[in-house]
Amino acid sequence: MASAGKRHITGWAIANTVVIAYALFPVWWIAALSFKEPSTLTDGNFIPEKWTLDNYRGIFDTSEFTRALINSIGIALIATVIAVVLGTMAAYAVARLRFPGKKLLIGMSLLIAMFPPISLVSPLFNIERILGIFDTWPGLIIPYMTFSLPLAIYTLSAFFREIPWDLEKAAKVDGATPAQAFRLVIAPLAAPGVFTTAILVFIFCWNDFLFAISLTSTTAARTVPAAIAFFTGSSQFQQPTGSIAAAAVVITIPIIVFVLLFQRRIVAGLTSGAVKG
């Protein structure tokens, strides 16, 4: 009996290890590349023989990368804030109020969530050139609304439906003003959902590549994923492998931090809107 239990545990340990290795090895590989010296870059080893930070120094020396990093952070943050504010308003209405057109709103955001981004690129490219916002921050923030707003409305309305809104009424009966009832009762209950949605939206914006390479032409608004694709080596005979690997690690760090800190909530956010219906 004891040995069967032990075998069981070993089995799970192996399964877990396989899953973790599967998830991590491409990440590990690119991180290893980023720490390799140019001379050992092509050795194919998983652990660098000689560790160096030169690749990181190299990318932070040029304004190309730092500029792209600022663009990425700024654009993703602004898009997230707008999407979460507008999404919260709409999701609150969907979860709590009765009004005709609710079904239409949900249907519309579903439709938009399925939109192929490439279908928007050609008209947006021309519209933005005409409006003069091509290659600017708003020129990327606005298209990012296409996927972030439906995502925000979905996940938030799923979260909001779980909130026991009667508590608000109970607080008012107990003598709280509407503002107090909101601040002390509803806001703390709604905050985790809003925060989770913000993380998911941020990851989406941070990830975008198609809009970023199509709707920018200079370093003015180009985000890191797009900038990496245009990296060149310091001479024409040199591949930018080390720089790309280092830049890749830098933009991966925030995601890893989010995942480690908010793992449970991200899972809840991803699945609540889609599966619970």
């Binding site: 899953v19 057109g101 279908s119 296409t146 449970r264 599966v275």
Partner: protein, 312 residues
């Protein structure tokens, strides 16, 4: 699932339009007011551009010769649909979509079962599995590209020397699928895991008492009960896979017959600067995605996510 309590006690029965109380009318107005900004933004960034794309697709509009723009009817569509480039990209996209979604379903189910049944380390596995989901696709694609590049890569080193899989059509398509599967299986697994949580434990135990084997319990109890979750996951992933762009752009740039329809659209716009043809491709991709969604919802009866809640 708990039934939602009515938002206000004064709200009239839905449908009683003539006799709206003041409170209900206010609630209505507030609802519209709160949704308006989101609706305006969504229409402005999707409905208007797609309408404009349809308009552009009916024009001869080449940015190198802007003076020659004129209305040409459906001739752009004729040009696209009669070109081998479109059909090759279309079949490649369809192939990548079908294979990657099928592999992801099997792999994702396995992962979901591991996470669902794991005795320990569930949290660690869930955290690890979110990393491929969260990581920037371009970064992952570079990792795969370097891995398969002769001289740099650990995976290319396993091949007979001189092999450069990314420069041959079928091996390259295989690697594109691999990169896509690695990145998106976790998403599939998490959706399926949520579906697994909805299967009542008692039903499984009852089946076990009745003598059903593990496989029978899975095929005859778990899967049918999870059907809605499976269909939603498949719908999401199929639509997503059909739009594949980032992985291909980094791995092969669409060379050697590996371009998807999205890559083709991008090339026509930004390499050939032909807005008319590019827009026609955009509209065609939009139609394809619509057909896939329609097929899933009508033929397989996938509930559109959120459909139940709107039924209330």
């Amino acid at each position: 699932m708990n039934t939602p309590t009515p938002a206000t006690s004064t709200a009239p029965a839905p449908g009683g339009t003539e006799a709206l109380s003041e409170g209900a009318r206010q609630e209505r107005r507030l609802g519209w007011l709160l949704c308006a900004p989101a609706v305006v933004v969504m229409l402005a960034v999707t409905a208007y551009p797609i309408g404009y794309a349809i308009y552009l697709s009916l024009q001869r509009y080449d940015l190198r010769f802007p003076g020659q723009a004129k209305f040409v009817g459906f001739s752009n569509y004729g040009a696209v649909l009669s070109s081998d480039f479109w059909w090759e990209a279309f079949w490649v996209t369809l192939f990548i979509t079908a294979v990657s979604v099928a592999v992801e379903l099997v792999l994702g189910f396995t992962l979901a079962l591991v996470m669902h049944r794991a005795i320990f380390g569930r949290g660690v596995v869930r955290t690890a599995i979110l990393i491929p989901y969260g990581i920037v696709t371009v970064v992952a694609a570079y990792s795969w590209q370097y891995a398969w590049t002769p001289d740099t890569g650990y995976l290319a080193a396993l091949l007979p020397s001189g092999d450069a899989p990314l420069t041959e059509q079928w091996p390259a398509i295989g690697l594109i699928i691999l990169a896509e599967v690695w990145k998106t299986t976790p998403f599939m697994a998490l959706l399926l895991l949520a579906g697994l949580a909805l299967v009542p434990e008692e039903t499984l135990r009852a089946a076990m008492v009745d003598g059903a084997s593990a496989w029978q319990r899975f095929a005859l109890v778990t899967v049918p009960l999870m059907k809605p979750a499976i269909l939603v996951a498949l719908l999401f992933r199929t639509l997503d896979a059909f739009r594949i762009f980032d992985n291909i752009y980094i791995l092969t740039s669409g060379a050697h017959g590996t371009g998807s329809v999205s890559i083709l659209g991008y090339d026509n716009l930004f390499t050939a600067l032909n807005l008319g043809i590019g827009s026609a491709i955009s509209v065609l991709i939009f139609i394809c995605v619509g057909v896939i969604a329609f097929a899933f919802i009508k033929l397989f009866g996938a509930a559109a996510p959120g459909a139940e809640e709107t039924g209330r």
